[in-house]
């Protein structure tokens, strides 16, 4: 996943953010995923407006850690969401 890539959530998923944590239900297999705190923040940024670089920059401002490490974690996390078939494309 490169810097300009603008990941976007699958539009048919049912998801809610409750007290900062996101839970997602897929209509295909009714599988439910609960994202942890940082994962939930990333999820809210997957609106197709933010590219990977922008997401990493926002996380760097909001969370402690080295910018490069945060970016690396974010990319890994996005790949994970992709594998779980939670992203478009």
């Amino acid at each position: 996943m490169d810097n300009e890539n603008k990941p976007v959530r699958r539009s048919d998923l049912v998801w809610r953010e409750i007290d900062g944590e996101v839970v997602i239900i897929s209509p295909d297999n009714k599988a439910m995923q609960v994202l942890n705190n940082v994962g939930s923040r990333i999820w809210t940024l997957l609106d197709g407006e933010h590219d990977v670089a922008a997401i990493a920059a926002i996380l760097s401002k909001e969370y402690e850690g080295q910018a490069e490490d945060i970016k690396k974690d974010a990319i890994e996390y996005l790949s994970n969401l992709k594998q779980l078939n939670l992203l478009e494309g």
Binding site: E21, Q33, V34, N36, G65, D73
Partner: protein
């Protein structure tokens, strides 16, 4: 402050999430939304009399759906009356397609045209539950009291299946269709859909009990329990006449949980703790849903205990009966008391026959 130096683990515990975010806070997960009380059928056992009453407008429904989503509600069951009598039902389905919920649709299927079918398929509902009251036209139509309704319902099921919409065959057993129960199962199997039966009668919303006479006789109920145990007949409410001990709280635990993570909104905006326990908590046209729900006025309902049921807890058949606070309330106005006509008479007689 949280750190981004974490192991990537998208899945936390769903159980923990539900306990912390929903149960502990009495946050509703599922809402049964009655979009109308109008219906094109006149089923002999229905709890509504289908009198015209104030109904929420399209915009009001959209507003409520936004509130529910904001509050964290996931599951919606769209119910009536018959929801496809609403002229704006297509718009509502479109709205739900965009503002995602896990949707179950309760319908008789007779009014679903090609346009609605397309919208339902696009919505990707969790399921569409279709009421079926017989395996042949004469039996089904005698219960709905509308000639031709059976043919329309079955045709609709086939079309929904062609459109790959998950259909659930919602059978209801009454005295008049009892003889066709196995034919109904064959029909469900032939259609290729899941089925389950219910036979628990609910008095009418206004407290009238005249609809109860359409229910199964004691002999028929006994036969049903035997078939559930020995022949694999499937009931929606898995209640057994032999013993209900596993469902009964021992000591101080909660009996059932109306008004905690499940609730109901009526066609005029009244909010209830459950679709059967029709004690109005408030009206959504007067106050936002979240404010209505967060009242502590219904805590005695939310946290009912066996010891609260003064009369029932001392009854000799409590472990066998199919008690429901909502049914008791409809019959007598007291959700903590017995329901003499719908439940007590029937189960006392059944248990006595067994003992005798």
């Amino acid at each position: 402050m949280d750190t981004c130096e974490y192991k990537v683990t998208p899945q936390n515990s769903y159980e923990d999430f539900m306990t912390d975010k929903y149960w502990a806070k009495n946050r509703p997960m599922s809402i049964h939304f009655e979009l109308t009380q109008r219906c094109n059928l006149r089923c002999i056992h229905c709890l509504f009399n289908h009198e015209t009453r104030d109904e929420l407008s399209t915009e009001e429904i959209f507003n409520i759906l936004n509130q529910l989503k904001e509050f964290g509600v996931f599951n919606l069951s769209l119910s009536g009356g018959e929801i496809f009598t609403r002229k704006d039902i297509g718009e509502i389905l479109d709205f739900l397609r965009i503002h995602r919920f896990t949707v179950s649709i309760y319908t008789n299927g007779t009014l679903i045209n090609a346009s609605y079918l397309e919208k339902i398929a696009a919505l990707k509902p969790f399921d569409i539950q279709i009421s079926v009251y017989g395996a042949t036209s004469d039996v089904h139509d005698a219960i709905t009291r509308i000639p031709g309704s059976f043919q329309k319902t079955i045709k609709c099921i086939r079309k929904l299946l062609d459109a790959r919409v998950p259909v659930f065959f919602k059978g209801f057993l009454l005295e008049k269709n009892f003889q066709q129960r196995w034919q109904m199962i064959e029909l469900a199997n032939e259609l290729g859909v899941l089925y389950a039966f219910d036979f628990n009668m609910i008095p009418m919303e206004n407290g009238d009990i005249k609809n109860l006479s359409a229910g199964l006789t004691n002999v028929q109920i006994e036969k049903i329990y035997q078939e559930v145990a020995e022949e694999g007949l499937i009931l929606r409410n898995n209640v057994k006449i032999k013993s209900r001990e596993s469902q009964l709280p021992q000591g101080g635990t909660v009996i059932c949980n109306p008004g905690r993570i499940n609730g109901c909104i009526g066609s005029n905006g009244d909010v209830f703790p459950c679709p059967i326990l029709r004690i109005t908590i408030g009206n959504i046209m007067e106050k936002p849903f979240e404010k209505i729900w967060k009242t502590d006025r219904i805590d005695p309902i939310r946290y009912m205990k066996l010891s609260d049921l003064k009369e029932c807890s001392e009854c000799s058949i409590i472990s066998s009966c199919n008690r429901c606070p909502g049914v008791a309330y409809l019959e007598t106005g007291n959700y903590l008391g017995p329901a003499p006509f719908s439940v007590c008479n029937k189960y006392k007689s059944l248990v006595n026959e067994k003992r005798g």
